[in-house]
């Protein structure tokens, strides 16, 4: 026989179980919108890539380019969001994960197998690129630093990234952001469909 306490314990257990599983898109998408809305309510905007410019400015890049001559102290709020995001990643991975495999399309897994990626979805990142073994090979290091370089250069050139353009820009119905998102996809599609076979194939 269940008494009230047992029922509530059972309920808590179920809630915890749901929290530990991956969250569906129709939950996480609106929660990302909530992130943007909260920052707007706090009198700021949602844009993670701005931190890269701030990091350059802190590092003394103002000596080399006007672009980095600004009072970065005014951006400390965004660096705080960044530190929070790191903590959030730690909390989610440590306390809110059940170690479940990413439920990828089997076709994706098989396509990745052709490119030399095995065990797709067992981790967030492929060991074929992100393991230390890969990092210490010239090719692996080039992929990581080069990939990061393209993201950093492109995002500043385009004036924003996924958070600034795809989420904030589209939510505020700004056509420049739509152009940027189209660009994101042109680049991503060309890389995935045409360049991946050259980089990872054989």
């Amino acid at each position: 026989m269940l008494v009230a306490d047992d029922v509530s314990l059972l309920y808590k257990f179920e809630v915890m179980e749901i929290l530990l599983q991956p969250w569906p898109w129709y939950v996480t998408g609106p929660l990302i919108a909530l992130t943007m809305v909260l920052l707007v309510y706090f009198g700021k905007t949602f844009g993670m890539s701005g931190n890269l410019r701030t990091l350059c400015a802190i590092g003394g890049a103002g000596k080399f380019a006007e672009f980095f001559k600004f009072d970065w102290k005014g951006e400390r709020w965004n660096l705080t969001v960044l530190i929070g995001a790191i903590l959030g990643g730690f909390i989610a991975a440590t306390f809110l994960s059940d170690g479940s495999v990413i439920d990828l399309n089997p076709q994706t897994v098989s396509d990745l197998g052709v490119l030399g990626f095995n065990g797709a979805g067992n981790a967030l990142l492929p060991p074929e690129i992100y393991s230390w073994e890969s990092v210490w090979s010239p090719r692996g290091l080039l992929i990581l630093i080069g990939g990061g370089f393209l993201v950093g250069f492109g995002t500043r050139y385009a004036g924003g990234c996924t958070s600034g353009h795809a989420i904030t820009g589209l939510s505020t119905l700004q056509w420049p952001s739509l152009v940027a998102v189209i660009g994101f996809f042109i680049g991503g599609l060309v890389m995935t469909h045409f360049l991946f076979p050259l980089i990872f194939g054989s």
């Binding site: 790191i86 967030l124 950093g152 250069f153 050139y157 996924t162 420049p176 660009g183």
Partner: protein, 137 residues
């Protein structure tokens, strides 16, 4: 004290992005292969809820937490910088499988080697700042 709310928003954002799997290299690959609705669902529902929220904010003329008017800065009107910059970003997004939010979040999940992507991104931003005047905007 005033920074605590930003820290909490960041923590919230980090947890949501990990639990959505949007920080996964594999999910980005799958998206660009059009083999799952997952990422489109995340971005699409975020934008739909975002559009409605921003519309409500404008309509109700709600004040910010500091009691000030909420202003959403418009983006510069241009094609070249968004198309070229966006495309370069897309190359990197697909290759590294991470954009400027997930980079930090992934570091938090214990994926230490993402630091090389972050170093690359800081370097890319720096080079952009140095040569930006020579680029079409």
């Amino acid at each position: 004290m005033k920074f605590i709310k930003f820290l909490l928003v960041g923590i919230f954002f980090g947890i949501v992005l990990v639990k959505s799997e949007a920080v996964s290299w594999y999910r980005i690959f799958e998206m660009f292969k059009f083999q799952s609705f997952h990422m489109y669902g995340i971005i699409g529902s975020a934008v739909v809820v975002g559009i409605i929220s921003i519309w409500l904010i404008k309509r109700t003329r709600i004040k910010s937490i500091a009691g000030e008017e909420i202003v959403l800065p418009p983006k510069d009107k241009s094609i070249a910088r968004y198309l070229f910059g966006g495309t370069i970003f897309g190359f990197g997004w697909a290759l590294a499988g991470a954009c400027p939010g997930p980079m930090y979040i992934l570091f938090g999940t214990g994926a230490v080697t993402i630091l090389f992507v972050i170093i690359g991104a800081v370097l890319g931003t720096f080079i952009y700042g140095v040569i930006m005047n020579k680029l079409p905007h």
